[in-house]
Structure formats: structure tokens, C-alpha cells
Symmetry: C2
Subunit: 175 residues, 2 copies
């Protein structure tokens, strides 16, 4: 399946194709998965669940850069397209949701570690919007994944957004 995703256009993918390439009988695939989307979902959630732990380098910037570069690589692989497709086709059960939640918890832990060290981390939504979202955007609309330097630039942008202590903000007087 992964091979085919690299070679074939989305349109021509079919279960008979996968069967031929993999050497298993078509009926077997139909019995185990029933549809291409289900197969793709299975691959995705399999990979996702096997996901490595979030980085812990000792600094917020280090953690964020390591994570961003890793996601960028991930998105660049054939898996990137699969994530998007699986999320969109939505034949998925609760698995996808579960994963996202679990991942969110891990990332939150990373941010809280930073806070515990006295750094001022962004919140999770900000991280996703400023760093992760552009990675997928480049993939989808420019069909050209993002390199490590660019990923690090995105982290830099994120950190520039929340750089100052709560008291000495440029505009807001806190009381």
C-alpha cells in the first residue's frame, strides 16, 4: 500500500491493485478491511499509535524545534498525505479522535515542563496554528513539503509571539 501511494495517483488506487502488489488475494483484503479508506485509516492509526514520545531537550526552543522538524519529516513522507486523507474521508471511528487527544496531552506536558522551568510557553492551540498548520498547508497546496530550516523558522515565529513576561507586556496592564 505504501509503495503504491508513492507511485500511483490517488484516482487509480484500488483494492485489486493493492492485492496484486502485495501478493495477497483480493478477497482477503475485502474481508479484513472492506474498503480502501478503512485500509488507509488502519495504516494511519497504526503508525500514529506507534508514535514516538515528544522531545525533552531541556529547553522550550529545543523541544519545539525537535518536534517541528519531526512533524515536518513525517508530513513529507507518504504518511503526510494519508493523515490528511484519513482525517477528511472520516470513515474513521473514535480512534483518530483518541489519538489527537492523547497527542495533545503529551504536547501539553511538554509545554508545562517549560513553564515549570520558568519559561513562558505558548498555549497548545497557538503551537498547532503557528507551527503545525503551515506544514500541512505547504504539503497540500504547494505539494512541496517543508525543510528542517523552515520548520525551525516557524518555531522562531511562535516564540516571538509570546516572548515577554505577563507583567511587562507592551500593551496590557495586568491587575
Amino acid at each position: 500500500m505504501l509503495d503504491l501511494l508513492k507511485e500511483e495517483a490517488w484516482d487509480n488506487l484500488s483494492i485489486p491493485l493493492v492485492a496484486e502488489r502485495s501478493g495477497v488475494h483480493q478477497a482477503t483484503i475485502y474481508r479484513r478491511w472492506g474498503s480502501l479508506s478503512a485500509l488507509v485509516d488502519d495504516i494511519v492509526t497504526g503508525r500514529l499509535t506507534a508514535g514516538s514520545p515528544v522531545p525533552d531537550t531541556g529547553t522550550l526552543r529545543g523541544d519545539l524545534e525537535a518536534y517541528a522538524v519531526k512533524v515536518a519529516e513525517d508530513v513529507a513522507s507518504p504518511m503526510g498525505m494519508l493523515y490528511v486523507r484519513a482525517a477528511m474521508v472520516g470513515s474513521k471511528g473514535p480512534e483518530g479522535e483518541t489519538y489527537l487527544l492523547q497527542r495533545a496531552v503529551q504536547l501539553n506536558a511538554m509545554l508545562e515542563r517549560a513553564a515549570a522551568r520558568g519559561e513562558r510557553p505558548p498555549d497548545l492551540l497557538e503551537l498547532m496554528e503557528v507551527v503545525i498548520a503551515p506544514l500541512y498547508y505547504h504539503l497540500i497546496f504547494f505539494n512541496r513539503p517543508v525543510g528542517a530550516e523552515h520548520a525551525r523558522m516557524l518555531v522562531d515565529r511562535l516564540l516571538r509571539l509570546a516572548p515577554s513576561p505577563p507583567a511587562s507586556g507592551p500593551a496590557a496592564p495586568e491587575s
Copy 2:
């Protein structure tokens, strides 16, 4: 086709279905488009080309907010998914590219108008990454499009990024 996109799951869409719903003969659809992706692409580029001009409100923030809110609405409509699908399936010829380019030119014009007024606009890539990318990200992964206020918040974030003089380098020499 648009009706079906709202009702049916992606997996069950087929040309015979569209034919039945629309009342035209299957063969006609096959002759004119050849595949579902081509049909979708045609709809997308049709809508896109009919796209309204970029806003011109007199201020950079006003332009950006109007544009962001508009894109957010667009993404929330069934068309949002279509854009993503069309971009990914990639059965598109040069049309899609052409559109993106043309749109980029329009947006650039908007940014240059701001510069001509003495404002300091972000560059195009920044605009796309900070404002547009999150809109699609929410749609795809949270399956929940973004409201107007959130869209305006994204614009605010973008403007907070580029508030300072053009001459000084990025690696701020603090002394």
C-alpha cells in the same frame, strides 16, 4: 454534485450517482469530465475563477480581516473540502496552479497598496502561513471550521509579527 457532497460520504460518491441526481445521462458526464476528480476540479476552478476581488478597505488590517473572514466562510462551506481534495488528488492540470498564482498576484497587490500607504505589510508567505493555513487546519483535523472572530484574531497575530522597522536585521543586536 454540490448537493451530493453535502449528503453523501466521500466514499460512496460516483458518477452514476451524480448522473441520476442531475438527470443527465452517465455517458455525458464521462465524456465531458472522465472522472469524478476532474468534475470536482472543474467545479473548484470555476468557483475560484469567479472569485471576488480582494478587499480594499483603506487599511491593511481592514483588508486582511475582510479577506480572512471571507476565506474562513469559504472554507466552512462544502467548497472548503473540495479545495483540499482537489489540491490533493492532483488530477488537476495547470489550472489549479494558474489560479493560485493569479490569487497570489492579487494578494500581493493588496499588500503593496498597504506599503504604498506607508504601512508595513507582512510578506505573502507569512500571510498564508499565519492566517490561511490555520483555517484549513481546523477544517481538516478538527472538522470544525473557524468563526469570524477567530479569523480576525489570526490577522491580529500576523500584524503583531511585523511591527518593527525594515532596516534592522532579524538577529537583534541588543546593546
